[in-house]
Symmetry: C2
Subunit: 136 residues, 2 copies
């Protein structure tokens, strides 16, 4: 039903640059941050293009998106293609990928218990990473 995504996606300089800007980062960053960081590197790409590509990549599962507390969308390219979650540092933004069969099963069970089907879930954990905690 929602298959056939990456049908015809044309490889462009901009798309590559965005993917490039995303690799090697362990923090989640907003479209705007990515845009200006690219601008800082001398790569001129339109803001709208950044948004479009980021969304497309997210739809294809190439990158992960989560929402910050104030509703801003932040992106990051993840190491695994598999379903996973994140533990994010509130202070420095460091994000660690984690998997947890326990949660997956719990979510399924709880949903089923209430008669829900076609279940999806969101699980994000945030706190202070060891480094930031020590720095206080």
């Amino acid at each position: 039903m929602t298959e056939q995504t990456q049908a015809a996606r044309r490889p462009t300089r901009q798309r590559a640059a965005i993917a490039q800007a995303l690799t090697g980062t362990v923090e989640f960053r907003s479209a705007q941050e990515i845009h200006s960081s690219m601008a800082g590197d001398g790569t001129r790409v339109g803001l709208a293009t950044v948004y479009r590509n980021l969304q497309a990549m997210a739809a294809d599962g190439e990158v992960d998106v989560i929402r910050t507390a104030d509703g801003e969308a932040v992106y990051r390219s993840c190491a695994t293609d598999d379903h996973h979650h994140h533990v994010v540092c509130r202070s420095c933004g460091l994000a660690v990928e984690v998997t947890g069969d326990a949660v997956e099963r719990w979510a399924e069970a709880v949903a089923a218990e209430h008669g829900f089907t076609q279940v999806r879930h969101t699980v994000e954990i945030d706190g202070l990473c060891a480094e930031c905690a020590a720095r206080r």
Copy 2:
């Protein structure tokens, strides 16, 4: 640090009206929806006031807030004061409160494992409720 919230909150007609509008609803609703639903009932309250009160109530834990996929904040007054999560119907918005020691423990454990402290977490489950699923 973030204590001492409900210090001095003055009870006003508007505040009561908003609380009123929230009770007896099992769906999460946006500030705008609440505002216009109140307007429909003949209760005139400024939109800014709705936002302010909703935020204050959320800060006091009187209501729960979650973000929809497109980043909009939606509110609902919950039955329990205790920490809990929700299973939300994507189709009709029905929201059921659930608790899960399993998740809480998992979150703590996973975070600790990576050296994180002062951990908080977000867990939301969405799917189709039995009724909506049958209706298809």
